[in-house]
Symmetry: D3
Subunit: 336 residues, 6 copies
């Protein structure tokens, strides 16, 4: 099994029950999550040694974050305590034709407000196989763009493979800001999660005009790889949003000049889609550490993402065996 | 924005959770609603000045009704307190092939038992643009048929446009009783919600034998308008009941000798369909007050009705901007 | 109306809420059920006099079982109290593509550990029309196979019709053990629930190679009847598992050399499928006692099974009138 | 064990959670109960054969009542189905200094609206030891006063002992009405629950001017017995209401010219006091049937009443052994 | 009835259930409240015309605040929408010896971050009898100290009586900062809630060395009034904290050179003490507007405060009649 | 900080809500706990390195146990997976005079059924300061008595201090069996939790006939120490059970020939008393590792035990700082 570090912000999510709007709510369900924390949990579920580096306030909410991660066996010795607050957001669940609705209240969090790298990076990266970070972290501030570059360079120097998930959030930064940052970071990256929209909007790759998902994705992956030959694996999901309750999910991957894709998962109904992309990334990184074939990797990762949609909360709750059983046994039967 | 008065009964609904039958229930969810109260709330959400006239008992349940309406900004100065009880009903939620099941316990309510008009009608209708009432009120009793006619005539005299929603309830009166009343009230009406079944069963318009929804509805609307040329707008929804969990909804309208219809909304799953028709009527009245095109009006109203199906309770919980966003952005995506 | 005895184990089920895995659960919903107990409840709902014979521990859980059965009017004078424990199992609800997951903890239960028949059989079978038992009981132990044979022979001698539901559970015994037992018991059976898999795997009837559900089922039913001419009615359900949330259900029956089948029920969404097969068997036995036509019997039984899927818990919660209304009025409309 | 008939109204109670007022409630807990139904359940718990006679509507709520009674083994063959509605009331739980608040909505119920005795009284009273009825039934209407007298006379003639619980409800009738009825019914009564307030306010016995609970109660009991020498046992509880959350309870009894009283139960906190008096009456009747000493009877009955305060709902949930263990082992220890 | 304006911050409170710590919580209950908003609600409950001026974000949480206030009939036309966020705090309920625990996350709220007065003050104060504000508002920032002084002077000029509740929060400012501000604002104040600790710590009145609550409070009130003869009424509560579950509450008042005090309320158990002091202030202001005697005023206000402790949330949920009934009928009886 | 190993069984607890009896329950709350697991969690909360050794089934319930322990930072590398089942018990919460009621269903658990020591004891005890075990483990079986002796001797040899909590369970073994085992194990023990009942009933020390808690406890502690001079610290709690809702708790300790006792904690109301004794033992061991004075140790430990009673579940949820704040700041105030 491998050793992995992920670094990023972790937030407190307040969710309404299906069919209740935020102004009506008399209670909120609570979940803790964030892109990199979710990937950490997936990898810990699969048996890897995982450290999550972040910063949370020194109060009961910070304590909750620590316990949440420990529960899954994620190592929290690099989870710092301090600063002003835990970032939060409110999620009004969507249903059917009605989309979910999000209110962010994350500004000024202990993590976002960091002015310098407060971790002992030497100790953090010691013996680590993969360092994973997402585009949400540099999106937080100009300062974090610089810090993220520093930390990636440090990780690279320490011998880590660099995993980067573009994870573009239009509420946090503009395509121009994101695009500029990508040109700075992608030269250090080994594994990159980026889709066709990222390619077009952030990397300014001309739109594909042909037909066929395979052809289209191959076009974008090739164009991206041409620009960043250092990246050995590209991957992303194709999500068809039938409604807030029903989605179809296909995973695609580009590795060693070949295109791979998974079967299509019909997710009906969706229990909670937050963290689905992180479960996908976690599945890909696991398969790479596990030296699975690319073909198995993309199927495993997409199955993991589909499973995540069937449970509440940001966290993947399935171990390797459970994902594989799901992959091989198909739909909905009870064995008694 | 306009000024509107709606008048009718408001009841307490006891609902079971999905998958629990009434004889098993250990608790009931509570909602307050009634056709005209629901329309009042929709219009208040859209920024109109709305008064709701009714009568409730002078106890905690009557107080609950008042607070429920105030919450949405509906003016309750014409909500009277007195009488014996609040009408109630029990709703066993349906699911899939199994239909919902209703037990009414509404007889003898403070509103239904009124013997005379206890509101100050002069003050009630002062400066009001639209007076809205539904067929449920005259269905309550012979006495209420007379009172409803009186009040509509009074409203008309005060310069209000009269909005009437047929809202036929077979458990309250016979088609003959309803048909007779309709011939008395419709001559005063300006805006009328009536569908093909109402036309056939209550107004005895011969059944349409052709094909095509547009052609069919045009036939009925024309026939009704021929009889009541005073009515400037007819509207209704076409609901296809796939199951208790899935419905399809199309809104249609007849105005200025033209037929208008909305896109089809696939409502899957239905959270709570009670109040869907009232949200539709509220949307139509808003659009008329707002002087929208009929084409926009029918789309707005049907979108409002579809949205109502996605929340618990009788009340539309969406403001004008939210309905319009839903209308223009389509299905199920989160913006992050 | 008839008089029926059913005999078997009744267990305590712990269920998670949809979207929550067992290791996450902070609470479990509780239901009591077992194949023969569920059939007893169905028949009591339909107005028959039903006794359920079993054994439960002399503690609050045994008391809960008694009250559960009494609630539906099942006679518990032959429910024995004693032994060590109530058998239990944990059900992690499935959703969409993800199947449900079961953890059994039933070994050593008061019923399973019985060493001899502790009921007064003479009194138990006095005046009884049908004695119903399922294959789960002999699956419990070698000892229970002998006891089950004894009790069936005794019932037969007392003049009962014998109803047997194969109900094969691969977690309890092997196909060989089951097959051997079937050859011993089937000669005493009058009504038998057995499907195509039972025919192939347990009775070693060669696989059907043709097409067509009707043809296939006829083939298996005929083959089984040839072997056991004493069995006057065979029946089973064809379940198409689209996902853990959506199933299609068709009931089939073989009686007096004719094949009967019900309409197809699209169960979407499934609330709780546990007990669906027992509701089906209960519907068949009711129709037989009621001397319905076979054609009506299979429709009634399948409707009863479909309805069971719309409520939580193992128990059918519908009376005869409600099943018939469901059968004749179709899908999802509220009458108001 | 004995055979007992109780007869009266059973209602649906809607309760708020502690700390939530009725106008705020978003859900209500549901309980079914009524004085005579609660006594029936207590006696069934203690192993007696008990029939409950009443009338409920032929809908899901009536069905719920039947299942509720069956659950405890109460025989419902004399529970009639028909009429308009089930009587209901809303209970806003009190806490600390704040008293509970009740809204009655019981007028016009199937039971209260009965115009004649619809039970087969011969069959009802066949072999019955005790017929129990309370003052709530004659309080319902002038008509019911006549019917109650008729039925008591009939029961007497059939050889039943008559048990009567005054149970005065000031919201239903005046002291004068009640007093007049008492003079008519008490000549038939054998066992009577009546306290010092009943003696003073309804029977116009002059107030006691001395001190001492024992002396005071002896005075009233003697005065009542002088007037109605046919009554062999009088009993009542002395309740000290410290607050809505804390009460002290002492049971007293007068039998064979002797005064008996129980220990004092400190009930802190009260979970639900509704039905406490009925559990007390149930305990007394059980002890009389069981031929316990009066000294044991009053202790058993008061312990049963105290226990009732520790569970939600109107129903006593304890069997004879559990009440006796509670009586002899005292306070709050877990045996592990 | 009077017309009142209150102005201040309103926040979102997240509460855990009793017995659950913040790091364990899987959900939070939601309440909206703030000192001045709570006073506004109390006064609206008592029938006064009340406007609440504040600022909340233009999102679903701001909408929730508006609906919360409207529900009680508080006029929200001066509730501004804009700014970054709604202030929040997390309350871990205390129980028994364990105190409640609070985590504030209120910095940078739409209200706290206001840089200038954005209300139309002329319109706001038009015809207003009392303007009420608390010490929490100036505690928010240096800027708000200046704004609070401005607004109070403006209100004074417009003819309002000024009501000020010291409400000292040690987590927001130092005693020195508070003391300095008090010397600036108190010269404008008419009604002032200030207790013995406020007198000592903020106004630097020498400690009382004698005995007796009445004597002690008289000493402090006299000392304060000597310094600020413009203040016609001083009032405060004496709270004895037995535990987090049990408090005793006595209200005291100083008016026209006389000392008044209420009976002692034993609050056992406490349901939710947040807002108790605001219910007290609301009761005092109501009695002043109502021109009650001071003696009645202090009893009414303390009863209102005690009642508040029996319901969840910050808001007083009782009207004038209910407070008076509570005051006159005492403890814990149900009238049936 | 120290390094500690605890070893024992961990079980799944099903609890009813207050006011609901087991036969009524429709759901159970879930908690995982056991004496030694609870001590492990307390010590991990206080910052020690703690390993918990046990055995659980290789299914979702075993996984839940692992995650539960990991959540608090307890090291689970010596938690074995295998065997048949997780031991369970049902707890019907007591309230007021009514005691809690327990149904055990723990026989045949993976831990109880162990036939030999399956841990690598060398690795387990490497560098460990304290090995803690309780009397529940040897109570499981004759086999476990032998295994427990072996493991304690092994631990002793490895240089651990031995901590033993008598924790007598009358439902598992007789006083004779326990007494005999104690004479075998106590010669190896360094820290021992044993109270006056243990001394009398298990060690057959003659009853104390004098008065005074201090004198009585000193008598028993001295007598026990005389017999086992190897034990350096004895400790136990004096619990006064006012009712199931209110207890008083005093901790006492005997060390270096001196008697120490804590203040008395009035626990009112009790939220959940399960695990209170384990929190006490955890507090004592922490203080010993921390080299606190005995006087501080007994106060810290008793405060920790009192705090445990204020939260649901078996686990202490407080860290060292929180226990100390509770100890020094006393009762029930919110700091705002």
């Amino acid at each position: 099994m491998g050793k992995v570090v992920t670094l990023g912000e972790i937030m407190l999510r307040f969710s309404t029950e299906t069919g209740i709007r935020i102004p009506q709510a008399e209670s909120f369900s609570i979940h803790y999550g964030g892109g990199e924390a979710n990937v950490a949990i997936s990898l810990a579920n699969y048996g890897h040694q995982v450290l999550f580096a972040s910063k949370v306030p020194a109060n009961g909410l910070g304590e909750a974050v620590k316990k949440h991660l420990n529960r899954f066996g994620v190592d929290t010795r690099h989870l710092l305590f301090g600063g002003d607050r835990l970032g939060t957001y409110y999620l009004e669940s969507g249903v059917g034709e009605r989309a979910a609705n999000v209110i962010y209240d994350r500004a000024g969090s202990s993590f976002a407000a960091m002015e310098q790298l407060e971790w002992n990076l030497e100790s953090l990266f010691n013996g680590v196989d993969i360092f994973h970070i997402s585009g949400i972290t540099p999106a937080l501030s100009e300062k974090w763009r610089a810090l993220a570059l520093d930390i990636v360079q440090m990780a690279k120097k320490s011998g880590c493979k660099i995993s980067f998930d573009v994870n573009y959030r239009s509420k946090l930064w503009s395509p121009e800001q994101a695009g500029k940052f990508l040109t700075q970071i992608l030269p250090y990256v080994d594994y990159c999660s980026a889709g066709s929209l990222d390619a077009q909007k952030l990397l300014e790759i001309p739109s594909y005009s042909g037909t066929g998902r395979k052809e289209e994705m191959t076009y974008y992956y090739q164009a991206m790889q041409k620009r960043y030959p250092n990246i050995s694996v590209f991957y992303s999901t194709n999500r068809t949003v039938n409604s807030a309750s029903v989605n179809q999910l296909i995973g695609t991957m580009w590795a060693e000049r070949n295109f791979y894709e998974s079967q299509c998962h019909m997710i009906d109904p969706i229990v909670d889609r937050v963290g689905g992309g992180d479960a996908f990334a976690g599945g890909v990184l696991h398969s790479l550490l596990n030296k699975d074939t690319y073909s198995k990797a993309i199927c495993f990762a997409t199955a993991a993402a589909a499973l995540k949609h069937t449970v509440y909360g940001d966290s993947n709750q399935f171990n390797q065996q459970e994902v594989e059983n799901f992959l091989y046994f198909g739909s909905g039967k009870i064995v008694r």
